[in-house]
Amino acid sequence: MSAVELADQFESVEKQEHAARLGMWFFLGSETLLFGGLFALYASYRAMYPFEFHQALLHNDTMLGTVNTLVLITSSFTVALAVHYVRMDRSRLAALLLGLSTAFGVTFLVIKFVEYGDHIRHHVLPAGMYSMADSPPGGVVMGQTLYWFMTALHALHVVAGMILLGIAAVGCARRRYGRSRFIVVENSGLYWHLVDIVWIFLWPLFYLAK
């Protein structure tokens, strides 16, 4: 495993790693605001159409949503373990765990696409896909549109996260990352945890209506 190269502008490797970590946290804060705007839209439309919005939520399969929540939480767990082990220089184990996390990501996406297929079959679509004639009441449509967009945006982030985890996994397998060089693995993990956190909020908002 190669040691970290100290870049010219940094005083020490410690400073350099702190900078990379700090930069990642700032980036995560920024990414969170992307979803923040959508949460604001959700709150606004749900406040506007309390009854009808709720109707839209009933279209979602609570079981599948809950399974997906457990899948993501567990994948977060395996990622956290991977970071733990790479810090202990057990890079091969870390690579395995990262691979497992990616597989969980795939599982999540498969379940998601099953849900989407279901929705399409039941004609539960974003607003623009309806004509004026066959459109459900306004509040219902807005709830559905938000569901589609917010979960799709989240799924996009799951894919991005999987790519990062994949890069980290390959690096660990090749023993490029280890005790004295793991910031890439850590930062990829941070991104994945954010993806998990966003879903932790999306789940009750879209799936726990009775």
Binding site: L22, G36, A40, F77, A80, H84, I197, I200, L208
Partner: protein
Amino acid sequence: MIRAHVTATNTLVAWLALVGLTFFSFGASRVGLGAGAELAVALTISATKTIIVLFIFMHLVEQRFANRLIVIVTFLFIVLLVTLMAADPITRKTFPKAPDPSSRPVD
């Protein structure tokens, strides 16, 4: 400088807690508290889970205050956006009220 240290056991316990909270959340939604209370409970549980993920999985417990400040500031900005934006439709007096279903003539 890392003072606290997240061990593999910490991580495992955190995962179990998250799974437990997920089931708790699911159960709470089945009890029938009414839409407002349900949402409040659900979001509180989500916030708790988030703190566990942040501090244990993301190692925030080990890190400098600067990193925690980013999380706090992010959260506050989202609260600001959601609150003042949702307050608009909630407090509009001219927004047409939903028609009363019972007022529609049955044919």
